[in-house]
């Protein structure tokens, strides 16, 4: 049996007790990657020789550092998170040769914990997309059925965990980019509260929405990773100085008497019958565990996709202005400096990235700023107030993570608006800033369905408690794709 089928705590015990070497575990990860990555294409870059030599070094340090919970655990990192000395492309041809000189704060923290970085994972270019079809390199496939997308933009991160290539990965979530692929691939994905995890070293897409978070096979594994990456960072002025609680203690509590709100808008038209059915079954399971479930309303959530595409694209148009082929990136020659910028950007960016830059530039341009950008910011306030109001009386909001299961590769790629509306249930949470978790809750037509749990800011623990109680009462996170 591959070590990659084991939980982080089980691997940790074995490493600490010297039952198994870090180099054996690392080898096992690469072996699994070799077996299945031809079918799913989750990775963009593998770093085998460095990872193996790090593993041998760690084998000598077990006595000294073996108590660290992530010591020697292999991980894959989304390719928009800076890894010093390991190419970071954001799945863009424009950054094809980009070799970061810094580590992201999350990488510094994980490296201090002595994790093994096995490689960098595919994504939609600059995290813009919901299917991984916008990667500038290749399309990652869903491990449950390789004709289907893994979701996006952290599709590689979700697929790698589902396929048992690594026990955990990091993704980033701007409008659902951790939760939707976690849902499509049948794994656990957390978008932390905005400000909980430092964004330093995460290549910025929409700075007021982006958060890094863990993707794992179990709820407990997820808490192990968040524990290490959460916390204030001087280098990210939007990270919040709130103490980091013990997330693992959340696994101990029960959910008797817990108040769960189900927004009626989250089970309305547009949500597949098969998805609805699994969510309704999950609600019954949670009621059986003692939770009180009531229907509520988030009346403004129907406006979230429209507000999001204005705000996120506007921020992206500003953030991506730096990619001009001068200080980094693949430069394309031109007649003069402006022409160099234009050629570099036009040849380096893919179509979706250009579409968002265009939309954002339009929304911020003279004459349209108040009508679109400022209007969307005001609607964002209304959406936040909806969440605050419901969470004043409830502990958790529950619904599907995505309105459908994974769709077929090629099905939505020519219709941007349909693709955008696939994020209708995840986007409101980014606009509000709250934490949200996707946990597997069954299958519809052979593809995984994800249940989304949304909590109060900095209350990731309640999400873990509910998800863990649910996971223990069901078998869903034990299911594995046949690859």
């Amino acid at each position: 049996m591959s070590f990659m089928e084991e939980s982080i705590s089980s691997l940790h015990e074995k490493i600490k007790n010297k039952e198994v070497k870090v180099s054996e575990i690392t080898e096992s990860a690469y072996q699994r990657i070799q077996e299945v990555d031809d079918s799913i294409n989750a990775f963009l870059t593998l770093d085998e020789s460095n990872a193996m030599s790090k593993a041998s070094e760690l084998d000598e340090k077990v006595a000294e550092n073996g108590d660290q919970p992530l010591f020697g655990i292999p991980a894959g990192i989304k390719d928009n998170i800076m890894t010093a000395g390991l190419k970071t492309t954001c799945a863009s041809q424009l950054l094809d040769d980009f070799d970061p000189i810094h580590n992201a704060t999350v990488m510094e923290r994980l490296n201090e914990q002595n994790i093994i970085t096995v490689g960098k994972l595919n994504m939609d270019e600059f995290a813009m997309g919901s299917s991984n079809e916008n990667s500038g390199y290749h399309v990652t496939k869903n491990p449950w059925n390789t004709d289907y997308v893994p979701g996006g933009s952290s599709g590689g991160s979700a697929a790698a965990v589902a396929a048992g290539q690594v026990p955990f990965t990091l993704g980033s979530d701007t409008g659902g980019s951790i939760r939707q692929p976690a849902s499509f691939c049948g794994v656990v994905g957390l978008k932390p509260t905005y400000g909980r995890v430092s964004r330093y070293g995460l290549v910025a897409f929409a700075s007021s929405l982006d958060q890094i978070g863990p993707i794992t096979r179990t709820v407990e594994d997820n808490a192990y990773v968040l524990q290490q990456i959460a916390g204030h960072d001087d280098r990210d002025s939007t990270s919040v100085d709130v103490s980091v609680p013990n997330y693992l203690s959340a696994m101990e509590g029960n959910i008797n008497g817990l108040r769960i709100a189900v927004p009626k808008e989250f089970l309305e038209e547009g949500v597949d019958a098969g998805v609805k059915e699994q969510i309704q079954t999950a609600i019954k399971t949670l009621e059986g565990l003692g939770a009180e479930v009531n229907e509520v309303s988030l009346p403004n959530s129907q406006y979230a996709v429209a507000a999001y595409y204005i705000l996120a694209s506007s921020e992206a148009s500003a953030n991506l202005a730096r990619f001009d082929g001068i200080r980094y990136g693949v430069r394309k020659d031109g007649d003069d400096l402006i022409d160099v910028y234009k050629n570099t950007r036009s040849e380096g960016f893919g179509e979706e990235v250009k579409r968002r830059i265009m939309l954002g530039t339009f929304a911020l341009s003279t004459g349209y700023y108040d009508a679109y950008y400022k209007k969307a910011q005001k609607v964002r306030t209304l959406i936040r107030e909806d969440f605050n109001q419901v969470l004043h009386s409830y502990d958790v909001i529950l619904g599907p993570t995505a309105p459908t299961t994974a769709f077929k590769i090629g099905d939505n790629i020519n219709d941007p608006l349909t693709m955008y509306t696939n994020d209708i249930l995840t986007i409101p949470v980014n606009l509000a800033g709250n934490p949200a978790l996707s946990v597997p809750c069954g299958f519809s037509n052979g593809l995984p369905v994800g249940m989304q749990l949304i909590g109060k800011p900095f209350e990731e623990r309640i999400l873990y408690r509910v998800a863990h109680a649910y996971e223990q009462a069901t078998e869903h996170t034990k299911e594995r794709p046949a690859l």
């Binding site: 406006y303 429209a306 595409y309 200080r327 400096l337 160099v340 969307a376």
Partner: protein, 96 residues
């Protein structure tokens, strides 16, 4: 349908430092029109007395001590530059 003209697409492309073929311009004119029309549903909401959200967490004026600290070396700063010369980034001449 919001009226996005091809001329507007050309103007926005210039602001965004992007170049498009005729075919792409037509595609973006149509698609941006559709997306903007979709976004106009925001006008169904009365937001007259609503404050805009610029930032979701209550964090203001984050400052640090104005102290000297190590920075990036010249070599590192130039490591990813597509062209450099004499320890500086090389670009096409800006002035004739």
């Amino acid at each position: 349908m919001a009226k996005i003209t091809k001329e507007e697409v050309e103007h926005v492309a210039d602001l965004a430092r992007l170049k498009f073929s005729e075919e792409e311009k037509e595609m973006f004119t149509e698609q941006m029109g559709k997306i903007i029309t979709y976004a106009e549903r925001l006008n169904d909401l009365n937001t007259e007395d609503v404050e805009p959200t610029t930032h979701v967490m209550n964090v203001h004026n984050v400052l640090r001590a104005d102290e000297e600290r190590p920075s990036v070396s010249r070599e590192e700063a130039l490591k990813n530059a597509p062209a450099s010369k004499d320890g500086q980034v090389e670009v096409p001449s800006v002035l004739d």
